[in-house]
């Protein structure tokens, strides 16, 4: 039971919770039971069926409703006399500014993505409010405490960057199932159903095929009056037959690889349309577009089953047909969404057919969905444990019990007999651009890169700013906001398209830019260095930012799963906030486990050895989690480079 001091700290506290998902539900419950009286909770999500196995405050009847609001009502049932204020909103909305954050004694994060975590970190730093941060995946979890000036901030340590694959691995030489998924989702699906104006590498593959690539742009268009069945087979034969033949003609590629096998639809499914009438009827009954399913049409029920090549081919053709016959209006605007049954079916089938071609083991729809949707593993128990640990830290924070703050890891396998391992928090990183005022250096071709490139690739993607403002001396180059005049908006839009050295106030080598986010109250100086050449493979952005903590090359990233559908051959880092229904762990970087002094392990003479063992474990975990990762491609990868890029 809590002591008197603890109780009075708890009763007087005003707490902000960000996230009402897996951790959030457990956390709100534990806060209420522990005697907290004033809790505010932000979550932009609505409830989905796949949440119900662990987000125990929600029921089937709540599907579609605001998580924050339903969570509040559920908790008030067993603790009616406390105050819970829900916000069905995005934590990045301008209303949640520094002043909003200042009213709280502590902020507790139960988030699922890097982007929102960084944003909340900055607001907590700006408002001077302590932050307790958390994450889980499967049986792993962690809780950390961030106090400005006392402990490291959330961004003091490098955060894992998105996984990338060289384009040629995806387009020509897949060796793992995930490569087939990326091809099916980011190239084929995007090509057929996505924005036609997006760059797409589907047909840019064999270097000597430039003559035919022009032609093949049209291959994917459905011709006027073309029979849907015919169109489907034509696409099938083009991508799984003709393109493979074309790739095979490039002999060099296959010297040290297994040659793929071209697959033509007529060899798998004789040209004799499947019983149309029955299918039509089923789909009409379904009515709701989200329930249109090729599996249902074909009588395949279990998503865990492995389909044969024939079944995959049938699903491919059927799904394509259903898109064109039932969801024609959406074509051209679709991006892959893991909750879109038909899209998942199409991608699974296409990936499996391609895998067949390349001799890669096939996967079930269930597995393919997990890979394509970057679905994070989640169980109730880990979330409950982590929520308990968050409250324990929050109570210490409220009592200002600095010497007892801990970051705690929840492990799957014991390390030094511990399943829950507390570690003393780190000091702030003095070269952190977020919590200390360290200037950054940007190498960029000032005669080649546009302001837009700088904004997208650096200010948003790397610095994680939401509403940025860019200044050169006293002249404003760029700004976002609702309160701008029309001419300002036009002016900034024009600037975006200008090359840096041609801006009204030219940005050249030696320029010092000030980049600021007024909402996050974060301000950085960037020293610009001009550089002509960049290595396309190693520096795909065409610019290099240094002086900040580089993301680790592989491992977990903080992205949601929905925005990656139309990725082109560039590393597409997103800045859009998509709160997923899952909580995700920022896998503990191995080097931290090594660097950090583990708290009071006076005992173990073998502490060093086990600490290293532990480190290896984290590494392994990171790799395991990585199988499930978001996938982004790098362009122009040669096969030699691809070896380096792959994680194993």
């Amino acid at each position: 039971m809590a002591s008197e001091q603890q109780l009075s700290a708890i009763k007087g506290a005003k707490v902000l919770m960000v996230g009402a998902g897996g951790i959030g539900c457990e956390l709100l419950k534990t806060l209420a039971l522990s005697g907290f009286k004033d809790v505010h909770i932000i979550d932009m999500d609505t409830i989905e069926v796949s949440n119900l196995n662990r987000q125990f405050l929600f029921r089937q009847s709540h599907v579609g409703q605001s998580k924050a609001k339903v969570a509040r009502d559920a908790v008030l049932k067993f603790r009616p006399n406390i105050s819970i204020t829900p916000y069905h909103a995005n934590v990045k909305d301008p209303e949640f500014n520094v002043d909003f954050f200042k009213q709280f004694n502590v902020v507790l994060n139960g988030l699922d993505n890097l982007d929102a975590r960084r944003h909340v970190n900055r607001l907590c730093l700006a408002a001077g409010v302590p932050l307790v941060e958390s994450g889980t995946t499967g049986f792993l979890g962690q809780v950390t405490v961030h106090i400005k000036g006392r402990t490291e901030c959330y961004e003091c340590q490098p955060k894992p960057a998105p996984k990338t694959y060289p384009v040629c691995t995806i387009t020509s030489t897949p060796s793992k199932f995930v490569h087939c998924i990326v091809w099916a989702k980011d190239l084929l699906f995007a090509k057929l159903f996505g924005d036609k104006n997006q760059d797409n590498d589907l047909n840019v593959r064999a270097s000597d095929a430039s003559s035919s690539s022009q032609q093949s742009e049209d291959v994917f268009e459905r011709k006027n009056e073309e029979d849907i069945e015919h169109y489907g087979r034509r696409i099938f034969d083009h991508v799984f037959g003709y393109n493979i033949e074309l790739a095979l003609s490039n002999e060099d590629t296959w010297k040290n690889r297994n040659r793929p096998r071209p697959i033509y639809s007529k060899d798998v499914i004789p040209v004799e349309p499947v019983s149309q009438n029955g299918n039509q009827a089923k789909n009409l009954v379904a009515g709701n577009p989200s329930s249109i399913s090729a599996m249902a049409s074909l009588g395949l029920k279990n998503p865990q089953d492995l389909w044969s090549l024939k079944e995959n081919s049938a699903i491919f053709l059927e799904a394509l047909k259903l898109f064109f016959s039932k969801r024609e209006k959406e074509i051209g605007n679709l991006t892959f969404d893991k909750d879109d049954q038909l899209a998942v079916e199409f991608v699974t089938a296409a990936a499996n057919i391609r895998a067949s071609s390349f001799g890669i083991p096939l996967h079930s729809l269930f597995e393919a969905k997990g890979i394509a949707g970057n679905i994070v593993h989640a169980v109730a128990t880990t979330n409950a444990i982590i929520a308990g640990l968050i409250v324990i830290e929050a109570i210490k924070v409220l009592q200002n019990d600095i010497k007892n703050y801990r970051m705690t890891y929840c492990l799957e396998h014991p390390s030094r007999k511990m399943l829950l391992m507390p570690v003393e928090p780190f000091e702030p990183n003095k070269s952190c651009y977020v919590c200390s005022e360290t200037p950054l250096t940007l190498e960029i071709n000032t005669h080649g890169s546009k302001l837009k490139d700088l904004v997208d690739k650096i200010v948003k993607a790397k610095l994680g700013m939401n509403l940025p403002l860019i200044m050169h001396g006293s002249s404003l180059l760029y700004e976002v906001g609702d309160d701008l005049e029309e001419d300002e908006v036009a002016n900034y839009a024009a600037n975006l398209e200008k090359v840096l050295s041609e801006l009204p106030s030219p940005v050249i080598g030696g320029t010092i830019l000030t980049v600021e986010d007024l909402q996050q109250e974060l301000k950085c100086s960037i020293n610009v260095k001009h550089r002509e050449e960049f290595d396309e493979e190693k520096e795909p952005d065409g610019m290099v930012l240094s002086g900040w903590t580089q993301p680790l090359a592989v491992e977990k990233n903080g992205k949601g799963s929905t925005d990656n559908g139309a990725s082109t051959s560039r590393v597409s880092e997103t800045t859009s906030l998509v709160m997923e229904d899952d909580d995700e762990l920022q896998i503990i970087p191995a080097q931290i486990a090594k660097k950090r002094k583990l708290s009071d392990i006076s005992s173990a003479a073998s502490s060093d050895a086990s600490s290293f063992r532990n480190e290896a474990k984290f590494k392994r975990k990171a790799e395991e989690a990585d199988n499930n990762n978001d996938v982004v491609m790098l362009d122009g990868g040669s096969s030699e480079n691809s070896k380096k890029k792959r994680e194993q």
Binding site: A32, F56, Q60, F78, K301, N302, F366, A380, M418, L419
Partner: protein, 321 residues
């Protein structure tokens, strides 16, 4: 594997956890039957976890009439006398748990758990008991051991900001992945009686002080005939005296069981909800492991103390002669 496939509804609901432990494990869970006795906060947390996980059935046993104190860490029952008055804790928890997952059968078994016959326990795959005396723990453990099939047996207790879990899986064989090869492992467990009779001098070096302190309190309650968990600060002198006796008999330095810890444990009638969440979570995970056969089960004690934040496994095993 076990024949029946998961239904579409199950696959949708359990999607995220099937991705953790696989469809086979989920099928085994859905066929398992669990008995839970003693429904304070930690056990309520545990029940929530296994009901969400999708076990076949949960049978609740706790005839105590609900009081405000019993509900201090309970999120299943509203603190409204007009709702809970006259009903047993098990009945009230049952109503609420059923609501969490309609695919799990939750029911109430009335009666005193120590009086149930060995046949009764045969119906279950897992037995979890809490808030009961040393002798009850031992006798139920023995009844479970006598069953022809293996019944996984657990005890759990939380006092102040400390918690203890005991596990008896008897002889447990499971497969473990080592360098991508499946290796069969055998774990041999001691019964509760065997484990707690291990002489303190032969305990693992640097054994958790909580283990020793819990044994003192447990013994104290047994000798005084107390209702489990019903101790207070006023008992401290007697508890300290007992510690002295036990330590002398066991040839252990008394300083191994600090006063501050004994004081916290004897005062700790009300549970600390964050610790309930932690212990209930670990216990849930362990029960899921034992049923599904996935993952290394812990052997055989687990301790958590919010004061230092450590969650420690102790292996306290009686070598068979």
């Amino acid at each position: 594997m076990d024949g029946e496939e998961l239904t579409e509804q199950e696959t949708a609901l359990y999607d995220r956890q099937i991705r953790v432990w696989g469809a086979d494990a989920q099928r085994r869970l859905s066929k398992s039957h669990i008995l839970v006795s003693g429904l304070k906060g930690t056990v309520v947390e545990f029940c929530k976890n296994i009901v969400l996980a999708g076990v076949g059935s949960v049978t609740l046993n706790d005839d105590r009439l609900v009081t405000e104190e019993l509900l201090s860490a309970n999120f299943l029952v509203p603190p409204d006398e007009t709702v809970y008055s006259g009903k047993s804790l098990a009945e009230l928890c049952c109503d609420s748990l059923t609501d969490f997952n309609p695919m799990v059968r939750v029911s109430v078994e009335k009666g005193e758990v120590s009086k149930f016959s060995a046949d009764f326990f045969d119906k279950f795959d897992v037995v979890v008991i809490s808030s009961c005396s040393l002798s009850t723990k031992q006798s139920i453990n023995e009844k479970c051991r006598k069953s022809l099939k293996r019944i996984a047996f657990y005890t759990v207790d939380c006092r102040d900001s400390c918690g203890e879990i005991f596990v008896d899986l008897q002889n447990y064989i499971y497969t473990k992945k080592k360098n991508d090869e499946a290796v069969e492992c055998l774990l041999e467990y001691s019964s509760f009686e065997e484990a707690v009779s291990v002489p303190w001098r032969s305990l693992p070096r640097r054994v958790s002080k909580l283990y020793l302190a819990m044994r003192v309190i447990e013994k104290f309650e047994e000798l005084e005939g107390r209702i489990p968990g019903e101790t207070s600060a006023a008992d401290l002198p007697k508890v300290q005296k007992l510690r002295k006796e036990l330590c002398e008999a066991q040839l252990l330095d008394e300083s191994q069981i600090p006063d501050s810890l004994l004081e916290r444990l004897s005062e700790g009638r009300r549970e600390f909800p964050p610790v309930c969440a932690v212990i209930g979570g670990i216990l849930g995970q362990e029960v899921i492991k034992a049923i599904s056969g996935k993952g290394d089960p812990l052997k055989n004690f687990f301790f958590f103390d919010a004061m230092d934040g450590k969650g420690i496994i102790e292996d306290i095993f009686r070598q068979k002669s």
